[in-house]
Structure formats: C-alpha cells, structure tokens
Amino acid sequence: MIALYTLMEGVIAFFLIAGSIFALIGSLGLARMKDFYMRLHGPSKISTLGVGCVLLASIAYFSLLNGGPSLQELLITIFLFITAPVSAHLLSKSALHQKLPRDPRTRGNPEELQEDDDETTLEEAPQGSSKLP
C-alpha cells in the first residue's frame, strides 16, 4: 500500500515537472521567436499540453486523496484542447488580415499577405463602402 502511494507520488511529481517545463518552453517560444506566425506555434501547442499535464497530475492527486476516481479536471483539459486550435486559428486570421510582416526566410507567398490592395479576398470585401454612384 505504501509502495503504491510512493509510486503514485512519483508519477504526480513527474507530471507536474514535465507540464511546467512544457509550459515554460511554450512561453519561451512566445518571447523569442521572430515573427508572429512563428510565435503562434509555442503557446497553441506546447502550453496547452503543459497545462494538460498539470491537470492530469491534479486528477491523480485528488483520486489518491479521496480514495476514488475524481475526474472534474478532465472537463478543463478537454475544454482547453478543443478551444486552443480555435483561438490560434482566429489569431492567425486576424494577423493575416492586418498583414503582419513575416520572417524573410519564410517560403510561400499567400495571396492574403500580398501588398496590392485591389485583390481583396471575400472575407475582406468592404461591407459598408459601396462603389455605387
């Protein structure tokens, strides 16, 4: 029994440390990458997994403490994993809309980022300013 307890404690400690290291790397990516599109990668993937690890540790800890499964934190985990891609997508969409500059090494030249303002995508088509006489 005590051996099991120690083992569980080790697992929880591992998840806590792994999760916080992941979250730190994600935030580091946010701080040191060069352009917005590269900064987006760190938080949207790595920070989410980091927090997921911490929540798993919390599930294990409270299950151990209460002597039964206690899955409340699963709710936050699922919620984060569903919403992270959505907010990342919206953020990159607004960045493309504002035509934020990209790193010169970036390959590929999407029409959303090209400078001539004549070719607006459907999304950016002006809503109020009609060209009616």
């Binding site: 979250a23 935030s27 911490v54 919403t83 607004s94």
Partner: protein
Amino acid sequence: MLDFALKISVALFAIAIVLNLYRVAVGPSLPDRILALDTMYVNSIALIVLFGIWLGHRTYFEAALLIAMLGFVSTVAVCKYLLRGDIIE
C-alpha cells in the same frame, strides 16, 4: 517529494507568466498582445490548479473553469473585433 515538485512547478509557471508579460508589454502588434494574454490565462489556470493541490482541496476548481471559459470567449471576441471592426453584427 511532492512538495518539492510543487515548488519547482510553481516557480517555472511564474517564469512563464513573466515571459508572457514581456510579450504583452513589447509585442509589436495587437495580435501579439492578444496571443500573450491568451497564453497567460492558460498558465494562470495551471497556477490555480497547483494552488488547489497545495491546499489539498478543490475550492478553486470552479475559478479555473471560469477563467478557461472567459479567457476563450474574450480571445474570440477581440479577434472578431480585429477582423470585422465590430463584435456583434
């Protein structure tokens, strides 16, 4: 062992939040700042959960859940504002 791991973990998350704050302050563009705030609330959820483990009971679980929901909704709302210049159409 668990106590030690908790302390290290809280310290690492604190550093992560400081890095996010740096990006909020410096961030050359608006989406950068929104992204940094978004990351900051994700990290703060983790901090609250860690605090709950420290205390040994789950009074603060609902707070974490609320931060998760409000954070997501506010990120979406601000992005929508940047995209359309209007939140509710």
